[in-house]
Amino acid sequence: MLQKVKVWDWPLRLFHWGLVLVVTAAVVTGKMGGPLADWHGRLGIVVLGLVVFRLLWGFVGTTHSRFADFFPTPARLLAYGRGVWQGLGHNPLGGLSVLALLGLLLLQVVSGLFANDDIAFEGPWAVLVDKSLSDRLTAWHGRLSWGLLGLIGLHIAAVGFYARFKKINLLLPMMTGYKRIAADDGIPISSGRLEPGWLLVSTVMAAGLALSVANGVLPDRFIRLLDITAPAVDIEEPEPAVL
């Protein structure tokens, strides 16, 4: 007897599919460049907001959204390798994939903040570094984009592999939130409660961070903190002449 179990909460699903749209647009605008560079920059800020939200939600979301539920510890990976892992959310391999994708996206966003296209676009934090460092970070941003595309391809291939060879549909649950499991599978069913308060806090914090980064509020604070307009050499007060 199959029963429907709620696994993925709606903020998580919204985040996932939002990311699909935004990252696709970012890749296209990034590769085309030129007048689209400004849009690429804006999309990057949206990615920052989404990723920060996911990182926060990983601590305050429902059960299977939390990192604690799927973090690929050596014990879990070993169990999975031996075929004895059981669970409703991401399996340990899936968990690794989540962390890799989030990590790579974060690296892309941070490097992109300092990047420039040598024509008319520069990231909101490019003002903090000299052109040479900005150029190097831009180059890394370009190289990492291929790694990101590779990881995304792997992710899609894995979903396909599960459908074709394991006869497990991973796409539908990520859309509806529900998985069908046999009632006597023995897998502990727990989804926790979606806390609207935490959802609000996470959304506001993520959006706030993204907007302040985009509008140079953080660079402004950094600049005042580091006082980068100060002279490079300490000016010594001349000693009073001894008459």
């Binding site: 030129g34 007048p35 296209d117 024509i119 190097r136 831009t138 180059a139």
Partner: protein, 153 residues
């Protein structure tokens, strides 16, 4: 006697360091030219694309004129043979392809000069929409050359 020879050696070494060859000079001049172009391009972008409420006709005209003048100053002379290797202010990013595809180089160069000159004319119109359209056209000519002939960092 040794002191005199020491002085000769030291001044020779200094003059060797200061005296860059013709290749280094070309690279330095063109790196300066494109930096200067980028500065003026950024000014136009700021007033016409990013913050149109700050548009000042005279300032944009001045920036566009400086840009067009630099574009028309014969920058081709700074891309002599062998200048794909060497250091001006920093190591050059010119690719060897530049010397293997002279026709494409000519197309890219002429495109830049044409659009930069048109940008200066558009700036005279005082109409930010017209300037913005021409700004976009000009930035595509920058990209046209960069994509083909400049190495990534």
């Amino acid at each position: 006697m040794t002191r005199k020879w020491g002085l000769v050696v030291v001044t020779s070494l200094i003059s060797l360091a200061v005296q860059a060859g013709p290749i280094e000079d070309q690279i330095r001049y063109r790196q300066s030219a494109y930096s200067f172009i980028g500065w003026n391009f950024g000014k136009i972008k700021n007033q016409v694309v990013d913050h149109p409420e700050t548009y000042n006709k005279d300032q944009v005209v001045a920036a566009a004129n400086a840009l067009a003048a630099t574009a028309n100053s014969g920058l081709g002379a700074l891309f002599g043979p062998g200048t794909d290797k060497g250091t001006g202010w920093k190591p050059t990013r010119l690719k060897a392809e530049f010397f293997q595809q002279p026709e494409d180089v000519r197309t890219a160069g002429v495109a830049f000069i044409t659009e930069a000159t048109a940008l200066a004319r558009a700036a005279e119109s005082g109409n930010p929409e017209i300037i913005k359209a021409q700004f976009n056209k000009t930035s595509e000519t920058c990209k046209g050359c960069h994509d083909k002939f400049r190495a990534k960092e």
